[in-house]
Each structure stands twice: as structure tokens, then as C-alpha cells.
Symmetry: C2
């Protein structure tokens, strides 16, 4: 079976890693959000692609939830001495990804080709595809004015109240060729919306021209996994943003955002009452992924959930 997963960083990457383990090599395509991408210290940084690269390769730093394991921090210390900006932490090994990506982008290579090369060199048996090779940037209108994503998320630790979120450039961007090819693949047996932040990770992907329509029209069942468990997000500002945007912090509210294309919703068994009234079929399971086994168990449940018309 051929599976397409849409993912942001940490939570999505865990499920993607689970899917990668339970599916035969080459059957999984993971599309990464690039709305978080930014330029820092002259380097082109793609946080969600990197978290997916490291998590799928098994070299992610589980303690931090970002970056690489067995990392060193000599660069940051030296940079601080020289008066450089240190609010965005770049490990020494992580830096190789940014420096080499920046070099290859400057030489004219598309992000998708660079990403594909990196995932092969890291021994990842799944396809890993940026949502677009064009420039899309998530920007937030907050009580502190308009902020770039990383300024909001890292520098200000998601603390300003969010009023509005836009994906600058998305309307003019083109979904990457590999993403479009996967959406059009007639052998596609499942599309998985990973338990990533709906506003900051999934919506940027959905905002690309044609993507939402393709999800509505595809014959493959679309399965989304709730990023909300027991009224909270496992990590990150999802719950805070939902509150600020006037939404209830519930798995049902997330499902309703995907209502036009969703076929199956996977929510945590703790939230049975919360999703009882949804129009879409719901599968309840344990969705918290603390161990590698949890990831594979959830992946298996996602793939086993009954499809459209079943």
C-alpha cells in the first residue's frame, strides 16, 4: 500500500517514523511543512524538514524535541563570544544540514532535490518531500504586531496573543512536483494528516493551490490524527492558539477544520465524549507517543482504520 502523510515537526514526525517502520520500504511519502522555514545567520533553515530527517533517521534528540542526538554546542558558545545572535539554538551537527542546504540552494538546486539527497544519505527508506520549492512564510498578527514565525515561536516562546495567521506566498506557490505526483497516484491507499499543529503545520500545506481540492477528490481515504489529548496539546502552542482564535480546545474542533476532506478521525480514547457528535467516522485509540513502540502502534491503527465506504 502506498501512503502519503502530511506533517509538521515533532508530533507529526513521531507518527511519520512509526509509519516508516510498519510500511514496506518505498511505500511512504512524507510531505513536510515549509512555512516555518527562515533565514538566520545567513543560513536557510527548514525546521520541520530537519525534525523529520532526524526523527526518520533515528538520530533525533528526544530530550529537546528538536535537533540531533549526541550533539555538541561549541559553535553557539563561540558565536556568543563574537557577539552573534544566539536566540535560535544551532547544534554543531545540525549546522552541517543548514550550511550544506544553504550552499546547494545558492547553487540553484531546488529544496526538494536537496532534501531527497539528505534523506537518502541518512538512510531513510521513505520519501521526504517539502510541500513546495517556493517560498511560503507563516506570519502571525499578534498583540505585538505582525511577527515572523520563528520570532513568535522561538524568540518570544509563543507568548504573544495570536489574532490571525497568514501563509505569505502560498497563493503564488506551487506544490512540489513529488507532492502533486503523490496526490495524483492512483495506487494511493491512504492519506494521513499527522497530529501536528493544525494552524502552524497543516494549514500551510493545505493553503497551497490545489491541495485542498485534491484531498477532497482523492479516492484514497484521508485519516487525521488529533493533536489534542484531554484538552491539551502534547507539545507546542496548539491549545493556546485555539483559545486565542476563539475555538474550543478539543479534538472535535480540529476535525471540523478538516471536515471537507476528512474520511476517518483518530482521537485519543480519553476523548470519546469529545468526538461523539462528529459526522465523520472516529477511531479511538491511545494517541500519546512516548516510545518507539507507541509510534508503531498508532501507525498501525491509522493504517487499519476503516476507509471511505468500508
Amino acid at each position: 500500500m502506498s501512503v502519503l502523510a502530511l506533517s509538521g515537526g515533532i508530533g507529526g514526525a513521531k507518527l511519520a517514523a512509526g509509519l516508516c517502520r510498519v510500511l514496506p520500504p518505498g511505500e511512504l511519502t512524507v510531505v513536510a511543512n515549509t512555512g516555518d522555514d527562515f533565514e538566520h545567520l545567513g543560513l536557510s533553515i527548514s525546521p520541520d524538514i530537519d525534525t523529520l530527517l532526524y526523527t526518520l533517521a533515528g538520530i533525533d534528540n528526544a530530550d529537546h524535541g528538536w535537533g540531533r542526538r549526541e550533539e555538541t554546542w561549541t559553535f553557539m558558545g563561540a558565536l556568543e563570544t563574537l557577539g552573534g545572535e544566539t536566540w535560535f539554538k544551532l547544534g554543531d551537527g545540525d549546522l552541517a544540514t543548514h550550511v550544506e542546504r544553504t550552499r546547494r540552494l545558492a547553487a540553484g538546486e531546488p529544496l526538494s532535490r536537496i532534501t531527497d539527497d539528505f534523506r537518502r544519505r541518512l538512510g531513510i527508506p521513505a520519501q521526504l518531500v517539502p510541500m513546495t520549492d517556493d517560498r511560503v512564510r507563516t506570519r502571525l498578527r499578534t498583540e505585538a504586531g505582525w511577527l515572523d514565525f520563528q520570532d513568535y515561536f522561538v524568540r518570544r516562546r509563543s507568548s504573544p496573543v495570536v489574532r490571525e495567521i497568514v501563509y505569505a506566498g502560498a497563493a503564488e506557490a506551487r506544490a512540489s512536483r513529488e507532492f502533486l505526483a503523490a496526490l495524483a497516484d492512483h495506487t494511493l491507499s491512504r492519506i494521513v494528516i499527522c497530529p501536528s499543529n493544525p494552524f502552524l503545520s497543516i494549514d500551510p500545506i493545505l493553503s497551497l493551490p490545489g491541495v485542498r481540492e485534491a484531498l477532497r477528490c482523492t479516492q484514497a481515504p484521508v485519516v487525521a490524527v488529533s493533536p489534542i489529548i484531554g484538552g491539551q496539546a502534547v507539545k507546542g502552542p496548539t491549545a493556546k492558539i485555539m483559545t486565542e482564535l476563539g475555538l474550543p480546545v478539543s479534538p472535535a474542533a480540529v476535525a471540523r477544520r478538516y471536515a471537507d476532506f476528512l474520511d476517518i478521525y483518530v482521537a485519543d480514547e480519553a476523548d470519546a465524549d469529545e468526538v461523539a457528535d462528529l459526522a465523520v467516522p472516529v477511531r479511538l485509540t491511545r494517541t500519546l507517543m512516548l516510545t518507539p513502540e507507541d509510534r508503531q502502534t498508532l501507525a498501525t491503527a491509522v493504517l487499519a482504520a476503516p476507509g471511505r465506504g468500508l
Copy 2:
């Protein structure tokens, strides 16, 4: 007394560090060769400036003769995994210098201002000045064709036979303002040509318009220290290049290259016979710098050598 030193990397940096120790703060200006500068992995790298920064700050790696002490190498390992170029070794801490310099150059700052900021942040009490803010690149015509300096020096380990050396861009470059100001300073009491490679480190500086003339005309005594001891260079390809260019490998041959502006020549006591016939006054001393004390002893000898007319 106000002292101006012209220097390349390792040997020159050792004497510069000795001068910095024996002179009162603010009395020393070190002009660095930038003919070795190059772009690698998208980063602007200035090897001689960096060796001077690290050596003057006391954080140089004495074992390697380049780079920083207490360095880590996580970046290079990760870069190799991603298929990046690894022939030029960049330590994790060293990388901060290149990344921050590259960022500031791209923002429009001149190399001289960036270098001055770095040396202050590293606590260096001497001025450290690039020879120029313009682009000069040492290139070598060899048996293997024309080579960029780092390709010759690092990638090919100085092994191709050298036929000719040019300093591309030097004729159109302008010596940095601080360098010109130091040359014109009427309180200048000494100009020191450090024991650096005459062809690869000193000649690029001398090739800038007006520099050689200023050395000829200055009232300050010009003292050069031989980079050759007992028919050998302490480090690097100086002796090999002299042979390939048809010069005798002797301190006298180096002194003759500086004959038009040289007032005093400092050679090793082992080479008394070699320099006996020189027209310029010679001071013999121990020139090999193995310890910090050696650097200061040589610096004191250089400053004590009798001046023009004495």
C-alpha cells in the same frame, strides 16, 4: 612606541603575539594578509586573520598550527554524512567566526570593521587590520595548471610544482584605511615584516598599490625576520617554493626580496654565514619560537634591533 607588523598565518602570528605581549596596549597594529581568503561552503573564510585572532587571543590550537584549541568536530562528521566537501577542516567553534563574518559581509560591513569587532570581543589589545577590504586572491600557476590558493595549499598539500604566483585583484585593490593610516603615522617607531612566507603571505600585502613605496619612504625602520632557519622553513612550503622558483633556500634570498625598503634583518644565529654578505645590517638571534617566552624574546630582539642611522 608605535609598531606596525605585516603578517601571514602561523609563524607571523607567533611573533605578533610576542609583540603584543611586550608592547603597551594599543601600540601594536598587525596587518593581515587576505590573499588566502576564499569562499567555501558558502562561507567567507580568512585563514590568516583567523590564525591571528586566535593566536593573539591565546585560543589558538598549537598542535594543529591553525584553528582553535578545545575545538570539537561534530560539524565535519555530520557534513561528511550529508555528502558535503570535507577537504577543508572547519572546527565547530571556528565555524562561528566564518558564519558570523559571512553574515556581516553580506549585510554590507567591511571586513576591517568586522575584524576589529572580533578582536575586541576576543580581548585582543592590538589593532588587527586586513590588508584590504577589497578582494585579492593569491593564485598559483603550477605544473597542474592555475590553482586557487587553498586548492594548492590545503587540498593538494602544496605538492604541485609552482611556476608563478599572482595576486589577482591586487592592482585594483586599495589598502585598508587603517593600514594606510598606520603607514602614514609619524609616531611610528618600527615596521616589522614577520617571519611569514614571503611569496604567499608578505608579497600579497606588498603588491597593494602604494604599500611598497610607503615602506621605502617611511622614516620608521623596517625590520624583517627570516622565515628560513638552517636552510629550511619552520612550517609550510616556503623552502619548496623558493627551490621551484629558482631561488636559493637561504635567509639572504628572502632579505634580497625586501632590499628596497629593508633597514634591519633579523636572522637565526645558526645562519651567520648565510647572511654575512648582505648589504643591510643584520641582527642574529634565536628565531625559532617554540614557547610563549620564545615569542616574547624574539619580539624584544626585533624591537631592540638598531634603527636606520643608528
